[in-house]
């Protein structure tokens, strides 16, 4: 019987043409990395210079050096750790609750078709509703503390999770479902051996969206009710017209959100490799 060549184990001795190609590609990626960093540096430099020479008013636009001073002040006062900690905790908590609960509800809706058909319009409407409108209700029901903030974050992220995950569950290939049928698989087996594993990429994509959603929800919640956290710092800084504080907090927020997204992307890479998904 004939064998195809194995597609693993790359050949080591490339042609000269291929080596030139690889070099070109490598050069290109180096240029891109430097351009990325360069863009940021030029932006900061320009900002700083314009503020220094009073082309822009650093009272309302702040400046990199003022932000650095503000950052040092926050760290020294011990405030930064507290505010970052609180916001991070709220975000991570709502992220985990939204993901677990959302996936669980999606599984239930997949399992019970009639329930799904009954609830579908409600979920779609709740998803379409601008959640900030729920602000007053949330404050009255959940109080003016962390539970209210987490509820707000959940309101924003939960329905998206449910809808995305469910649509992934429902789009499993018909022929694969047929395979499970012909093997006599139970519903539970179909779920655990086919639907869930084939939806891992979908669920991870939902995680990526959720990271963003939970940050939106947390900051929005902190705008509404909080006494601490980065969202609080931004609102407070705005109220006392201390733009250095607003800008510094925003930059910290950028880093945190980016880092969390990066973690999820790492997880995706790891799981994809483990499950052999491209």
């Amino acid at each position: 019987m004939k064998h195809r060549q194995r597609k693993t184990a790359p050949i080591k001795n490339y042609s000269i043409e291929h080596i030139t190609y690889l070099k070109k590609q490598k050069k290109k990626s180096i240029v891109i990395t430097f351009s990325r960093i360069g863009l940021l540096l030029i932006f900061l430099l320009l900002w700083e210079l314009l503020a220094r020479f009073e082309v822009i008013d650093s009272f309302i636009s702040s400046s990199p050096s003022r932000m650095a001073a503000c950052f040092v002040e926050l760290v020294k006062g011990g405030d930064l750790a507290k505010h970052v900690g609180i916001t991070l905790w709220e975000t991570v908590a709502s992220f985990f609750i939204a993901t677990t609960l959302g996936t669980l509800i999606a599984v239930l809706l997949w399992w019970f078709e009639s329930v799904r058909r009954v609830l579908e319009p409600y979920i779609v409407i709740l998803n379409a509703l601008p959640k900030i409108a729920l602000g007053p209700i949330i404050i009255i029901w959940m109080g003016t503390d962390q539970p209210a903030i987490i509820t707000m974050a959940l309101a924003i992220s939960l329905f998206v999770t449910i809808l995305n995950t469910l649509s992934g569950f429902l789009s499993v290939e018909k022929s694969k479902l047929m395979l499970m049928q012909t093997l006599g698989a139970s519903k539970w087996q179909t779920l655990t051996k086919l639907v869930l594993p084939s939806n891992v990429p979908n669920i991870i994509d939902a995680l990526k969206i959720n990271v963003g959603m939970c940050w939106v929800g947390t900051i929005m919640g902190e705008y509404l009710v909080s006494h601490a956290g980065l969202g609080y710092l931004i609102i407070y800084g705005g109220q006392i017209f201390k733009l250095d504080l607003v800008m510094t907090s925003t930059v910290i927020l950028c880093f945190l959100a980016g880092a969390m997204y990066y973690l999820v992307a790492l997880l995706q890479k790891f799981v994809s490799k483990k499950l052999n998904i491209e």
Partner: protein, 264 residues
């Protein structure tokens, strides 16, 4: 010879909210032990439906289907279904794909795993057991799919155009492989296809179906071809005779339909 499969006056009607469609009408077919039975018919005549009935996924509207004397049931383990495409799960290794049926039927014992490995060895796939489906060629994947079916040791194999997704050259080779595997394992099989030459090259007997609602139009006995492999069969003069016979039979099916449409 023992009958492994009996379809008695089977009818099946599909229901949707808009329509009801009579797919199969008074279909009576038998398959004997160790026989490769081909079912050919014009496209859309409900060939896949017949296999679903045989596997027990669908229940006939009237009439009866018996496999080895028992009513068709997907949990009985008497039938093994091979689909059009390999349907290997990309996140499972080849060995793990082969074992999925045993896992589902909760029959994954050491002995069965060894049997699976033996089959993989026998059909030159053992060295790929830890590979993933995307690392294998189409023909190899289709053979893995066959082994996944064989591991369950079904009495009757149901093949639903299992070569249609392959390119022509791979196809000829895989037909040859599948034929020799089925013969060496001494399996009975029902092989559904729209490809006449494929049916002639593999089967012992071919049932020709009519247009919808499908029923048996004619049965062609291919026993003179027995003992020849698919590729050898294609070289025989008899091959084209059988081809013409089945072809003209299917043509009259079509003409009848066009006459009918003209009349209405």
């Amino acid at each position: 010879m023992n009958t492994i499969l009996q379809m008695q006056k089977v009818c099946l009607t599909y229901h949707t909210t808009k329509n009801e469609t009579e797919a199969i009408k008074d279909l009576s077919v038998e398959c004997y032990e160790g026989e490769l039975l081909g079912i050919v018919g014009p496209s859309g005549c409900g060939k896949t439906t017949i296999l679903s009935l045989l596997s027990g996924i669908l229940t006939p509207s009237s009439g009866q289907v018996f496999i080895d004397g028992k009513r068709a049931d997907p949990h009985s383990g008497l039938t093994g279904y091979m689909l059009q495409k390999d349907e290997l799960l990309p996140w499972r290794s080849i060995l793990s794909n082969v074992l999925i049926g045993l896992e589902i039927k909760k029959r994954k014992t050491q002995q069965k795993v060894e049997y699976a490995q033996e089959l993989l060895k026998k059909y030159n796939l053992y060295e790929f057991k830890d590979f993933y489906p995307n690392q294998l060629s189409g023909g190899m994947k289709q053979r893995v799919a066959l082994i996944r079916t064989l591991v369950l040791e079904p009495k009757l194999l149901l093949l639903d155009e299992p070569f249609s997704a392959l390119d022509f050259q791979t196809r000829l080779n895989v037909v040859e492989d599948v034929y020799s595997i089925l013969r060496s394992e001494g399996k009975s099989a029902v092989f559904v296809t729209h490809d006449i030459s494929e049916a002639i090259s593999m089967c012992d007997r071919v049932v020709i179906l009519s247009n919808r609602p499908s029923t048996v139009k004619e049965v062609v006995d291919l026993s003179p071809l027995k003992g020849y492999t698919p590729l050898r069969r294609r070289e025989l003069p008899m091959f084209s005779e059988y081809f013409d016979k089945i072809w003209s039979n299917m043509q009259t099916t079509k003409e009848k339909r066009s006459n009918e449409t003209q009349a209405t």
